[in-house]
Symmetry: D2
Subunit: 373 residues, 4 copies
């Protein structure tokens, strides 16, 4: 994680501001010979796109991605790989900003929104692009989702999926968990019975000009044992950094996470039996990671998102001139940024796993050593 780049072998560098001409990313280190089209990436971007419901920003961005480099197609690639493929060179992805609605930024141009990064950027750089949040805007996450679409292709055997498990004080009932339900509502909610509760809650929040926090849960199924590395390149440490780097994230936990603080050793330790393809675990408090290395179980993480700081209620603040002001943020804003974070959490997880896969293959050749093997 170096400023605007993350990953070691599968490296993603993102760039772009909310109201600049475009945003995008460069994906470097991608293996060659992987079928990849703009449509492959667009599908994931469309899931993330705002403007799909009344609970996400009404900004209408087509978010059409272009692949500017790193792929190739000719007769031979069609024959060998089925069409356009990656060549192993950097994949440059660009999304133009078309809906930079003209508006008045005179207030936030000089005053710092409480809870927002305005002041921190000013203090660090002395200059900032405040239009729409600039580099701090959630629009940057479109580039993450695009990169994640490539990462998914690299770890083709792994399924990465996420769900929203809490909005404000309302958490899903895990006994009703159904992954299929996440496609039936605008919240990626896995608990059908919770949808109407959240709708009502968000409607109240929206009308009040307020906002609310949320928790996202992600799982990656199909990760073989052995990915990740001690002691600072741990899979869960890399995941923690990647997920905490998402806008508004304030907490990350793996497996049982904070709950494990209250566990006894007996409750915590996932027992093992032998299955046909290696050890089988009788629980997954570990969240699929032990000692920073994947165990073959599902990798499970949760991310807490704070409420967006852009609210209509006036808040006390200061401005660049050092004056005390009252500030309320008008304009289009998500009442719950956690909703749109779901595809971003998936994308970051996919990127971290793709990187771990390539590094593991590099150091060890990629073999999984199995008991009795």
């Amino acid at each position: 994680m170096s400023h605007n780049t993350f990953g070691h072998m599968f490296r993603v560098t993102t760039w772009g501001e909310s109201h600049g001409p475009a945003l995008g990313c460069v994906v470097d280190g991608c293996p060659p010979g992987i079928a990849l089209t703009e449509a492959d990436i667009q599908a994931w971007l469309d899931l993330r796109r705002p403007g799909q419901g009344k609970f996400v920003t009404q900004r209408q961005e087509p978010d059409a991605v272009r692949i500017l480099s790193g792929v190739f197609e000719d007769e031979r690639t069609r024959e060998l790989f089925g069409g356009q493929v990656t060549t192993g060179t950097p994949i440059s992805l660009m999304i133009e900003n078309v809906d930079q609605r003209s508006r008045d930024y005179s207030e936030i141009a000089t005053a710092f929104r409480p809870g927002h990064a305005d002041y921190a950027y000013f203090a660090k750089y002395g200059v900032r692009d405040y239009r729409g949040g600039g580099r701090q805007s959630a629009r940057e996450t479109a580039a993450r989702v695009a990169a994640g679409a490539v990462a998914r292709k690299v770890i083709a055997g792994v399924t990465v999926r996420a769900a929203l498990v809490q909005i404000g004080p309302h958490a899903v009932d895990r006994s009703r968990w159904d992954w299929d339900e996440t496609h039936n509502n605008p919240f990626w909610c896995p608990d059908a019975a919770m949808v109407s509760v959240w709708e009502e809650h968000l409607e109240t929040i929206r009308k009040a000009g307020s906002s609310t926090g949320a928790i996202v849960e992600v799982e990656a199924v199909g990760v073989p044992a052995g990915w990740g590395a001690p002691v600072y390149g741990k899979l869960d440490a890399e995941l923690a950094a990647a997920l905490m780097s998402i806008n508004a994230a304030k907490g990350v936990e793996i497996g049982a996470g904070f709950a494990s603080a209250a566990f006894t050793g007996e409750e915590n330790a996932d027992e093992m039996r032998m299955g046909n393809d290696g050890p089988v675990f009788l629980a997954n408090n570990a969240g699929g990671v032990l000692g920073g290395i994947s165990t073959g179980q599902a990798v499970v993480a949760r991310v807490a998102f704070k409420p967006t700081s852009s609210i209509l209620t006036p808040r006390r603040s200061v401005n660049e001139a050092g004056e005390e002001v009252e500030l309320r943020t008008k304009g289009r804003h998500d009442p719950c940024v956690g909703i749109r974070a779901v595809p971003v959490v998936e994308a970051m997880t996919a990127c971290v796993l793709a990187d771990a896969f390539l590094r593991h293959r590099g150091q060890t050749g990629g073999v999984v050593h199995q008991p009795g093997g």
Copy 2:
């Protein structure tokens, strides 16, 4: 975070196994001209050292650190800097393993402790040093504490301190928080009234041959606004990785963390007023970090630690031959690894901050832009 190295400008590489001849670290990129002696580092190691109470491992390690490189002393340094100082070259620190008690590892040599990294290491590498946990041992954290002692010198104006805030189900009462109390009990407990509760709880756990989880809270006071960088080199993302890389960590949160998921925007946004030296915040839900950049408030994080997996209760597992076994872990073990993690959390926080300081100074020159300034 690259395998066994972390940091960008202030870089720490650790090495060593529990039962090898020694362990240590190389600290690279440290500024020159900083007074540094072995005693400076030893003081922090002594705080971390096991063998200080009945609730931490009874292994008796003096953990005497040696500085093998990167410092120099002559008449001129005594005159200019007051004694031995860093030279800007790599600082190699070594701690010999003197108490490698001879014992029988025949059982864990081939069977995998549930909840332990045994199986993950085997699956990845095919070979592992199982004696005392090898590289997975908490002894590795001695090298982190040593590096942290150097980091503290680099950020001399910052105070980094941590406390244990929960053991098992018993959380401290924050209204009774007193930092001074952390030095009066073996738990770094800031709530004097909680000490006896924890003692009793741990005694029960210990007698049962069980273990328990815990939560550590750390704060860094004196961090100026501007450290950290968007969007992947965020201060909180780096902190999350560093803290999650500590043995047995399962969750990390910044400021209000997971609680912020239930907040409204009004509750979450820390309002600002002007103080004499820049903005003053009326709350610190942000934990001192907004947009990945420090705000000048205290940087606050919490880390959840799972119970150690080495318990006396027999657990179902498998061994390298692929056979199903029942396993209980005899020998010296902490009933609560979270206790000993307190100085490690401090050390990792100090290292992340030292790195952020040097990177910030590199990119910007280190000026803090203040409103009205």
Copy 3:
């Protein structure tokens, strides 16, 4: 240097193929508050642009650069910084490929040009974009020149300039060296008397459908003492990597370079006297770098470029089917790629120095310790 990224603090990631829609780079870590417009960058690109004479490729590319992110302008920046400035966030630069002349690639699509990277790319990746050389094309260097233009702004007090000192067997006479002359001829030749010799030589080479090698010399004046770091981050080691990474480069030397192998210690050691602003050296065999750290003298390096491998003379080769073939490369090609390399050598040198400056400032604060100071 990690695949397609170089630099540590001032980091450049380039992307793009010769015949894709565009090419570009992301410059990350640039300090904020630096005045930067597209015109600033375009000026350097125009110097590099092909199509300016009969001795460089006749491809007509306007090479118009766009800044897609990382800069900002409003009334306040105009007042404080004089206009549009860097914000400290990633600067994305893009150049569209407009002259992708339709042609027949059927031959080089499957056969490997001797001396070209065709075979190496095929062996590594199994798939390659052969149109115009794909990623191997010298067009990639436009992105380097663009990044170099930003780097020059970061090290505003340093002048980086290069000259061509040899084409084929014809080396300049150093006693006639005049930097001003480099702007008076299409070869960046500092020796006015050599220009006609080179013209004649290149005309012969061009008519024969052949090509020739060349040597470029670069100097950076104004670099203070102290940039660079032992022992692998040495300024000359970083320069060597950066310059050797330029297409067709086969050798790099610093200061007296290979000639120093024949020196005695007396000849080699640059003696020192005291000047008004620190030590003055009586010679510069060191090329401004000792122990990997700048000395305050001009940093001097030379780079050898091989002849382009795309020649009209038929050469024996093999093709993807494993058949032996005779191959001659038709189309537009420079008879001497070294000519166009001059601005690229300057750009890479500027980038390495900008990175060294920021790293030095990060570790030490940027002070130069002077004798008697």
Copy 4:
């Protein structure tokens, strides 16, 4: 290359000063399951060791290496791997400094040797360990040789060997090249007839209290096609950095190197025919690298070393007080540091190749695509 670390997947961090208690390195990212003992490493160190002849420093260092971590041996490893093996965790290697002869450093403690890094270190850091050259000492290269011994094990199919090809003005006659001869003389000279010329030359140099430069040539045979990566992670760019980072190196060239500047395209392009195991090249001007990627031919590089700056002849200089002085360097010094550089050049080449191998395997799986395959 980040201060004192190099490599991406196979990473080497060195530490230590000439007159500190010890020096060493940490090798991180080494694959597991590789047989490795101290004797394996010691063999290469013994070749490098000073004190073996009258033309290298008379300092008597046993240079006994200790492996402090990263290896393991038990019955199972003896059975599976034949003894002690790497575990995939960091390998810490240490060499104690036993011959820190007590001497008077009063002069060089304050005055800067011309041609030495003394002044550069002072200007950068303000403090330096001047005893025996401190971190600038050639003793640091012992750690490189130790790391190189590990690297050789990682690329077991590759033979890396180097020879001295020029001392002062006396170059070997390549028509008499015999690798076996390099073991028959103290100069690693491949031209038996040149040995007496060099002996005489060095005797003259030594008696005069002077020193001389030299050129080392290295080749790596057995490198498959495909290692390295465009465009900044090029194999030759990484080699250039690694070799230029060796003390006293002033130039690096690959294959025909600087000579290729005088070549025509016809002379330069190595023609290809089909062999049984892929393409066969009819020449190797490329030095085994095209487009930054290995071609399957021998990788060939040359490094120029300047004369050591520590000579008996008085030279004009300045001291820390800013006074002008005359300085002559007494004590033990190599008349030709290039001689001892031979094993170091081999070691750095091996490390670069090991890193390239692991990275290539990571990104692509390690397959070589062959024509007709």
